[in-house]
Symmetry: C2
Subunit: 336 residues, 2 copies
DNA sequence: CTGTTAGCGCTTTCAT
DNA sequence: ATGAAAGCGCTAACAG
C-alpha cells in the first residue's frame, strides 16, 4: 500500500480510503484521484490485504454457513442465494457441508468460529449442545434455515416441512388416492426428512387412511437408486398401494424410472410425488408432482436478515429475533 | 496474552509457545509449566486470537478454489474432493463460483486474493489476463483442473475434454451410427464445452462422417429443458440424424425425455450420449451412455498437489510444475 | 479532503 | 529453554 501511495503521490491513508469507498462517510476529493489509485493498484498488481485489514479493524468480513450437502440438493441454491445477498457488502461466505450429521456441523462451526465470522447461517433447527454453546458465547447473529424450529436460536428463515408434506398428502387424497405410502431415509440424521415423514403420518391419520405404509431405506440423502429399490420393496410389501410420497425428488425420480422398467404405469398403477422441485422433476416423463420451495430465496432472505443483524450489532444494538416464512407450493404434474 | 504471561510469571513468548506446542521444534521446559499456562488461560477466559496469529505469521490457513457452478454439475464433487484432501491440515477452503464467466472468475480471484490464500485451484485453463497477472504477482501455487491447458499457469489436474468426446464419437461409430450430431451451448463462455465440440468435430472429420450437424442452444450450462428443445430442432433440421452427443448429461437427459414425449425410440430412432456420468444417467430409463470422470478424484488430487506445493513454498523451495492426468471412461449404456 | 501518528495481538528473530 | 525487541499491513483517531 505504501508503494502504491508513493507511486500515485499520496499517503497510504488516501489509498486505504480509496479502496474502502463503500462506507459513505469516507470520500476522496475527486473520483479521478480514486480511479488513478485503483489503476495504480491494478498496474502494480497490488491487492488489499484483508488479513491485516481485519486485524486492524476488528472485523473479519466473513459470514459462515453450514449446509448439509453441496451435491444434488436444493442447498447449493441456498448457498447461491446467500452469496447473491451479501454480494457487494464486502462480506465473504465461508461455506461448510455437514453431510447431514450434527457432529460434523459442530466440528465445522468450531473451525469457522476461529475465523471470527460476523454471523452464522445454519440449516435446520437441530443442533448439538456443543454447537449451541459455541454460538451462544460467540455472541454473533445466527439464522436457521429450511425449518421452523420450536425453539430457534435466534432468527429463522424457513417453512414447515411437516405442513408441506401434509399438503401433498391432501393433494393426493383429493385426487382420489387412498392407499398412500411414504419413502424416506432410515435414520434421524436428516431432521427435515423426519419432519416430512411426520407430516405424512399426521395427514394420513387426519384423513382416516390406512397407515403404516412407510419404507425407510438407507442413510439420507436418499439417492435415485435407493428410490428405485424402495419402490420395488414397497409394491411387494403392500400391493394395494396406489400412491407414494417420497422424501425428495431424487428418490421420486428413481422410483418413477423403476416403475417404467417394471412396467408399472405412472400414475395409473401408482402415483408418485416428490419434494423439492428439482429440475429433473420438471424434465422427466411423466413430470413429477412435487413441493416447490424457493431455495435461492431462502438463501437470499437469510443473507439479508443476517446482514441487517450484523449492521445492528455494529452499532451496538441487537436486532430482535425475526422469523421469515418461506411459502411452499404444490406442483401438480403428470405423475399424480 | 500479556496478562496471562504476567499472571503466570513468564513472558508473552512463553505463553505463545505453550499454545503452539504443535510445532515440534519449539518446546517448553517442563510440561508442568505448560499446564500452568493452559490453566491460567482457562481461568482468565483467554483464547488465542487467530486473527492476529494469522496476520503475524503470514499464514492465512486458506486455500481458494473457483468452480463454474455449484448446482447440477460435477464441480461440487470436485469441491468435496478438495475439502477431503485438505481435511485435518488446518487449511480451510474458500469457495467461489464463476457462473462459467471469466470476468466473474477475475472478480472472485481478486476478492479471494485479499484473504491471502496460500494456494489457488482454478477450473479450466482459460482465464482473463487480469487473473493471470494477479496470480503471478501473488506468487502462490496454482492448480488448474478439468482441463489440460496448452500453457498451464503452473500445476494441472485434468484430462482432455476434446479427446474424451472424440472417444465417445468413435464409440458411436463402432456401434454403427453414421449421422452423428452434437448439442452444446452457443457461446465460448464454457471452454470445456467448446473443447468437447472441437473433439466431436475432429472425430467426425477423422472418420469421414457427414459434418455440420451441430446445434448450439443457449448459454452454458445447458439445462435439461434446453436439451429437450435442442433435440427437437435437431431432428427437424437434419431428419437423417441417428445419434447425438450432448455436451453434458443434463442436456442428454432432457433430450432423452423429449424423445419419449415425441415417441422417438431411443436408441432405435436416435441414440443419445452425454458427458459427466451424472446420477440421473445411471437411473433413468433407458440409461444414458456417457463419459465418466472421477470428479471427486480431480478435487482430491488437486488438493493434495496444492498442499505439497504449499509445503514446499513454506520451506522456500518451489515445487516443479506437475501435471496429473485423470482418466476418463466411456460408459456404454442403453441409450446407444 | 488528506496526512500523521499509533497501535491492533501475535510471532519472528536474535540474544541470552 | 526463554526473553526482548521489532515488526506484520492496515485502519482509527485526530489534526490540519
Amino acid at each position: 500500500m505504501a508503494d502504491v501511495a508513493a507511486h500515485v503521490g499520496v499517503s497510504k491513508m488516501t489509498v486505504s480510503r480509496a479502496l474502502n469507498r463503500s462506507g459513505s462517510s469516507e470520500r476522496i476529493t475527486s473520483e479521478a484521484l480514486r480511479q488513478r489509485i485503483l489503476l495504480a493498484c491494478a498496474d502494480m498488481g497490488y491487492v488489499l490485504d484483508q488479513t491485516a485489514r481485519m486485524f486492524s479493524s476488528k472485523r473479519s468480513g466473513f459470514i459462515a454457513a453450514v449446509i448439509p450437502s453441496l451435491n444434488n440438493s436444493n442447498f447449493s441454491e441456498t448457498a447461491h442465494g446467500i452469496t447473491a445477498a451479501v454480494e457487494g457488502s464486502g462480506l465473504q461466505l465461508l461455506l461448510g457441508y455437514s453431510d447431514y450429521r450434527v457432529e460434523n456441523e459442530e466440528r465445522l462451526v468450531a473451525a469457522m468460529l476461529m475465523r471470527r465470522p460476523e454471523g452464522v447461517i445454519l440449516t435446520g433447527g437441530n443442533h448439538s449442545p456443543g454447537t449451541h454453546a459455541m454460538l451462544e458465547s460467540a455472541g454473533i447473529p445466527v439464522v436457521e434455515t429450511w425449518d421452523l424450529p420450536a425453539h430457534p436460536i435466534e432468527h429463522t428463515v424457513g417453512f414447515s416441512n411437516a405442513q408441506a408434506t401434509a399438503a401433498l398428502v391432501h393433494h393426493l387424497h383429493a385426487k382420489g388416492y387412498r392407499h398412500i405410502a411414504f419413502i424416506g431415509g432410515t435414520s434421524n440424521r436428516d431432521t427435515r426428512g423426519a419432519d416430512r415423514r411426520r407430516g405424512y403420518t399426521e395427514a394420513i391419520k387426519a384423513l382416516g387412511l390406512p397407515a403404516g405404509r412407510v419404507i425407510s431405506f438407507g442413510q439420507p440423502p436418499i439417492s435415485m437408486t435407493q428410490g428405485a429399490q424402495a419402490i420395488v420393496q414397497l409394491v411387494h410389501q403392500w400391493p394395494d398401494v396406489d400412491a407414494v410420497v417420497c422424501v425428495s425428488d431424487l428418490s421420486a425420480f428413481g422410483a418413477l424410472m423403476e416403475c417404467q422398467r417394471q412396467g408399472w404405469a405412472v400414475p395409473e398403477r401408482i402415483a408418485i410425488a416428490g419434494f423439492g422441485d428439482f429440475e429433473v422433476s420438471r424434465s422427466c416423463h411423466p413430470t413429477i408432482t412435487t413441493v416447490a420451495i424457493d431455495s435461492t430465496g431462502i438463501g437470499r432472505a437469510a443473507g439479508e436478515l443476517l446482514m441487517r443483524a450484523i449492521d445492528e450489532a455494529r452499532t451496538g444494538a441487537k436486532l430482535p429475533a425475526e422469523t421469515v416464512l418461506i411459502p411452499f407450493q404444490i406442483m401438480a404434474r403428470g405423475s399424480t
